[in-house]
């Protein structure tokens, strides 16, 4: 029987279409033919990472870096509030770049089956995961000193939704091409190794108020959660998952994910009752 699509799939699809419509509409507005009622927001205006990029300028000179507006600050704050409770749920449920990689990943899964997302040895992979923090530091520094969006030229998200505009640098196409190819082998490669916004939101995993918890007293150690995790987190060895790469996708949970045992993998504030009784 064909599996029924989850709510996450629908939300991801809806947001991807919404962002695509906004991007196309902005181009139409530029040529004087915008879609009625949609306004003229640019891609930058609806990207919460723009808020992070402009923070230095906003604090030091009370101005925004070029192409960034107040809307990015609003979206950044909303995502921060949600991340404080649920971690990088934006990455797992909303970000169209993550969605795009997942779609390509479905092709990779069909080709490589169980080998998919298991190509890079853990000994190398664990260090590569910190690359995105280096990139974040570079983006913030370059944007601060230049006043322009330093990441735009290599941003695959910008390239994906602006490729027809003539504003995309060659480097953007190269990075997007690389991400697409890598997505056939690795799930969400950009999120794992290079996304500066994922780096920011990933930090929230360390102190989020509603972490992912594993009920050690009911867990059967089948490792279905490990296999389901797109970010290759070793969920089955943790009681409380605080990994900086978790994207709160719920793919490992009992309710909506791979865990076959009820009330065993959940996002919750407190410990499981059965766990407390066992102790």
């Amino acid at each position: 029987m064909k599996k029924k699509p989850k709510l996450r799939t629908w939300i991801q699809l809806a947001l991807f279409i919404l962002i695509a419509i906004i991007a196309v509409n902005h181009t139409l507005v530029e040529s004087g033919n915008g879609i009625p009622l949609l306004g003229s927001a640019s891609l930058h205006a609806v990207c919460p990472f723009g808020g992070v990029e402009t923070l230095y300028h906003l604090i030091t000179t009370d101005t925004f870096v070029k192409k960034i507006h107040e809307s990015s600050i609003v979206l950044m704050l909303i995502v921060f509030v949600s991340s404080l409770f649920l971690g990088p749920i934006f990455c797992g449920w909303i970000c169209p770049m993550g969605t795009f990689q997942e779609w390509i990943g479905k092709v990779g899964k069909k080709i490589f089956k169980k080998k998919y997302n298991r190509f890079i040895p853990y000994s190398i992979d664990k260090y590569l995961r910190y690359l995105r923090y280096g990139l974040l530091a570079w983006v913030l520094y370059m944007t601060a000193i230049s006043g322009v969006l330093a990441f735009e030229k290599i941003d695959p998200f910008f390239t994906l939704f602006q490729f027809w505009t003539g504003e995309v640098a060659i480097s953007g196409f190269i990075v997007l091409g690389l991400v697409m190819i890598l997505s056939l082998f690795v799930e969400r490669p950009f999120c794992k190794y290079a996304c500066p916004y994922g780096a920011v939101l990933g930090v929230f995993n360390l102190f989020r108020l509603i972490p992912l918890r594993r009920n050690t007293s009911t867990c059967i150690n089948c490792k279905a959660c490990d296999r389901a995790c797109p970010m290759n987190i070793s969920v089955s060895t943790s009681g409380k998952v605080r990994n900086h790469q978790c994207i709160s996708c719920y793919e490992c949970t009992s309710d909506d994910g791979a865990c076959p045992v009820p009330n065993t993998m959940e996002f919750r504030t407190n410990k499981f009752k059965t766990e407390e009784i066992t102790k």
């Binding site: 989850k6 709510l7 996450r8 939300i11 947001l15 306004g39 003229s40 927001a41 640019s42 205006a45 609806v46 000179t61 101005t63 925004f64 070029k66 507006h69 107040e70 809307s71 600050i73 609003v74 979206l75 704050l77 909303i78 995502v79 509030v81 949600s82 409770f85 649920l86 749920i89 934006f90 449920w93 909303i94 509603i210 709160s248 719920y250 949970t253 309710d255 909506d256 994910g257 959940e266 996002f267 919750r268 504030t269 407190n270």
Partner: protein
């Protein structure tokens, strides 16, 4: 308390909607720039709008408000005198319409340079930034920058010859509007006379009698081995100074 997937999934889109509604109600939800350039924060120009912050999204109307330069002057400087609605023309349109001419570029930085020289404000342009000939003429005529300083930018002047008043190439479009007195390849002596030049003024620059008024200035020069630009520039100066 546990958070199920469906609740978590709906929570963030709901937060987006609520946040956007609240910020809209508070007047903070803005997806476009204010079109107010940053001001100088130090020195003798403190408090004045800084041309360095002019952006491609600024229209001529925005620039008029920010720098008190008439839209008509801006339109004339960048070859849009004949445009029906110059107030709506955006600075970034230059890059599409003119782009790179020779080794120089007419784009956003060109407008920054023009505004700075027009208002006598400090600004360091990029090395390949161009100034259109009409803009140069205006700066010489009414710009606030000292002529000695202005002369340092003479190597950046490029002709808009070949482009019509809406910025597109005019090889096949020789019609000029009444207001557009920019000399182009298809401009005839008759049009120069209509715009107010005298036959004596034209002959004085040519060094010989212009002859039939229906002939284009470029063809006249070409037939007689005269470089068109050496005639065009002084004629344009005369027109701009009228």
């Amino acid at each position: 308390m546990r958070i199920k997937a469906n609740f978590a999934g709906i929570l963030l889109p709901a937060l987006f909607i609520i946040g956007i509604l609240i910020s809209s109600a508070l007047g903070y939800w803005k997806t476009e720039g204010s079109k107010n350039p940053a001001k100088y924060t130090t020195g003798i120009f403190e408090g004045q709008a800084n041309p360095a912050d002019i952006r491609g999204s600024y229209s001529f109307s925005d620039l008029e408000k920010a720098f008190d330069i008439p839209v008509e002057t801006l339109a004339k400087a960048y070859g849009f005198s004949g445009s029906e609605n110059p107030t709506e023309i955006k600075v970034k349109d230059f890059e599409e319409m003119y782009g790179i001419i020779g080794d120089l570029e007419i784009g956003t930085d060109s407008m920054r340079l023009f505004v700075s020289l027009y208002k006598g404000l400090p600004y360091k342009p990029e090395t390949n930034t161009a100034l259109p000939q009409p803009a140069w003429n205006i700066l010489n005529k009414e710009g606030a920058t000292d002529k000695d300083i202005l002369s340092e930018y003479s190597s950046r002047v490029v002709s808009l010859e070949g482009f019509n008043s809406s910025g597109s190439n005019s090889e096949a479009d020789s019609e000029q509007t009444e207001e557009d007195t920019t000399i182009k390849g298809k401009t005839t002596f008759s049009e120069l006379l209509d715009w107010g030049l005298s036959k004596e003024q034209i002959n004085g620059i040519l060094g010989i009698d212009m002859g039939a008024t229906g002939i284009t200035v470029r063809d006249f020069c070409s037939d007689r081995g005269i470089e068109f630009s050496t005639v065009k520039e002084p004629l344009q100066d005369l027109l701009d100074n009228m």
